[in-house]
């Protein structure tokens, strides 16, 4: 499901930020900025990394496109296919399951009528079941963007989903 994104260019302030990040590494080691730049790219270009976006990042960092592809496909936070406006990353690892994560995940699945790995028909939500996010004492939990939502109950999840529906509609 490749989509052509016609004009791929970071905002000027993002380019400045990337410049700052590259300077943190010694001369010639700008590839070390790759992971962070891909986070920025995903944030700026609809939550996912198309081949065009990855090629653009490769040009920016003066590395080969393949070096970007292999990183983008290795790490679980990068989406290499189109996703919804809101990406829900739900922790389904042991400690969270001890305190009821499986029940909350089922509740989200039935509220959105999708399974982990899928996107709602209206393109609003993508649900991802992910492994431990380092919040095990505060489970069940999920992450959206940079925010952790912890100690979840079904009611909290309902409110959260509604808030995001309102925000993006």
């Amino acid at each position: 499901m490749e989509e052509i994104q016609t004009k791929i260019e970071f905002k000027p302030e993002t380019l400045k930020e990337i410049d700052r990040i590259i300077k943190q590494f010694p001369e010639g080691k700008q590839k070390s900025a790759l992971l962070r730049v891909l986070h920025l790219a995903q944030h700026e270009f609809d939550n996912w990394l198309s081949v065009d976006v990855m090629d653009y990042v490769a040009r920016l960092l003066h590395i080969n496109p393949i070096e970007v592809y292999e990183v983008a496909t290795f790490y679980s936070m990068y989406n290499v296919e189109k996703v919804g406006k809101v990406v829900i990353e739900f922790c389904h690892t042991g400690p969270c399951c001890l305190v009821g994560a499986e029940k909350i995940l089922k509740h989200i699945e039935s509220s959105l009528n999708i399974k982990p790995g899928q996107t709602t028909e209206d393109g609003m939500f993508t649900l991802k079941a992910v492994e431990c996010l380092g919040a095990c004492g505060y489970g069940p939990m999920l992450q959206i963007g940079e925010t952790f939502y912890e100690n979840l109950t079904e009611e909290k999840v309902d409110t959260l989903l509604n808030d995001f529906r309102l925000k993006f509609n």
């Binding site: 070390s32 986070h39 290795f74 790490y75 042991g94 399951c97 431990c132 380092g134 095990c136 940079e146």
Partner: protein, 447 residues
């Protein structure tokens, strides 16, 4: 109340900010080290303190530091491991979120000791908001002359930066972390050469955990000997324990090593006992990778002695009847939890997180996941238990990095202590879908 060395100032309003941190005695240890101590003297204090790595393996920090190669004209690097992805572990996050300057201060001291002029904090990508907290604190430290060129007129230069991962447990393994920091996939390197000889960009490198580096601050403040007097035996100092699962008060606690497990688990100062008055079924005391202990081996050892929160006591009995302190991720299971289901869940985790370089790990974790899933869902056979045992044995010790062992141990320990529960799943394929097995029986000791 146990003594606190890392979280003692955590309740001071505004301790996240430079001004409040500095007023509370922050950066005094750096001042002391830069003015009065040589780098070797700092290493010496850390050696004397007996501090052991808080990332999981418990290797003596001072000794690790003394291995770093010092070839002329080659830069050396200190990397802080803030990848924190071991299920059950959420302590480093707590430190960085609430008192970020402590880690920065610890990194200045440690970089000085090692002769590093450029150091990095590698933080898991999901903690992006903590990365922002750290960057803010680092900017404050630069602005106040604790980072940058010629720190406080000492002639010592240090640049410190934070850089994120992007979701991969394996990047907590130190050579995978180095690869990732170089902007690559997190594939662990074959050792030797060890990072102390060839690490980041082929230069000598030390990787230490967030809590380890933070602990260097109190060590320099009070002196290594005084630090070594806290704790018990070779388990010196304090340790952060992140407690989770079915307890009344999940959270991050700083304990003096040597506290009894019983007090930690049942007193109101710490976990507050099993939630809702249920009974204890099992405990994984050091993060998902360490062996699970059945209820009768949690608060006492096989000899009937009190079990203590220390490297030695938690390991007492070896893998037959003991476990490990590990990363301090203390996971508690009540009587309603299913050991087979949890073992399947953990194995799925390792299968998902295997980098795929070695076949025993890549294939073995997948097979264990499949077989465990089948048993958990009422389709198991008796010989599946032996098959699981066989697969985990073939992974352990046969891989490039310790993730293979970390995947094998939980399966081995679950079978060792909970075989009857596995057999029950196989013999009662319908019942096991409806209810849980309950507590395992304590074996009767024959003298």
């Amino acid at each position: 109340m146990g003594r606190k060395l890392l979280l003692d100032r955590i309740n001071i309003e505004g301790i996240k900010t430079y001004d409040v941190y500095r007023k509370s005695g922050g950066y005094d240890a750096v001042e002391k080290a830069l003015k009065k101590m040589t780098p070797d003297e700092v290493v010496e204090e850390v050696k004397k303190s007996g501090l052991r790595g808080r990332g999981g393996a418990g290797f003596p920090t001072g000794m690790k530091w003394s291995f770093i190669a010092k070839p002329e004209g080659v830069p050396r690097y200190l990397l802080c491991n803030a990848d924190e992805s071991e299920p059950g572990t959420f302590k480093d996050r707590y430190l960085m979120e609430h008192i970020p300057h402590l880690l920065i201060e610890g990194m200045i001291l440690s970089s000085y000791a090692l002769g590093c002029n450029k150091s990095f904090i590698y933080i898991r990508g999901e903690f992006m908001w903590i990365l922002h907290i750290l960057e803010k604190a680092i900017a404050e430290a630069y602005a106040n002359g604790w980072l940058g060129k010629n720190i406080k007129g000492s002639g010592f230069d240090l640049d410190l930066h934070v850089t994120p991962g992007a979701g991969a447990y394996i990047c907590g393994e130190e050579t995978a972390l180095i690869e990732s920091l170089e902007g690559k996939r997190g594939n662990p390197r074959i050792k030797p050469p060890f990072p102390a000889i060839k690490g980041l960009w082929q230069s000598p490198t030390v990787v230490n955990n967030v809590e380890t580096l933070s602990a260097v601050v109190p060590i320099i403040t009070m002196g290594g000997d005084t630090y070594a007097g806290i704790g018990i035996g070779r388990s010196t100092g304090t340790k952060l324990i992140s407690a989770c699962g079915n307890i009344s008060k999940p959270g991050v606690y700083e304990i003096e090593l040597g506290l009894s497990v019983e007090e930690f688990l049942y007193s109101d100062e710490y976990c507050g006992g099993i939630k809702d008055g249920k009974r204890l079924k099992a405990c994984v005391p050091g993060g998902s990778s360490v062996p699970i202990l059945p209820h009768f081996l949690v608060t006492k050892t096989a000899n009937g002695e009190q079990r203590l929160m220390s490297y030695e006591s938690l390991a007492d009995g070896g893998f037959a009847t003991g476990s490990m302190l590990g990363s301090g991720g203390f996971i508690v299971f009540d009587e309603d939890q299913c050991v087979v289901r949890n073992t399947w869940n953990f194995t799925r985790f390792y299968h998902h997180e295997s980098c795929g370089q070695c076949s025993p790990c890549r294939e073995g974790t997948g097979w264990m996941e499949k077989v465990l899933h089948r048993i958990e869902n009422g389709h198991g056979h008796m010989h599946d238990i032996d098959l699981l045992w066989d697969v985990q044995r073939k992974i352990e010790g046969n891989t490039i990095c310790p993730l293979g062992d970390a995947a094998a141990w939980p399966v081995a320990a679950a079978i060792r202590h909970f075989r009857e529960e596995f057999e029950w799943h196989i013999n009662e394929p319908k019942k096991c879908l409806e209810k849980n097995y309950g507590l395992v029986k304590e074996p009767v000791l024959t003298v």
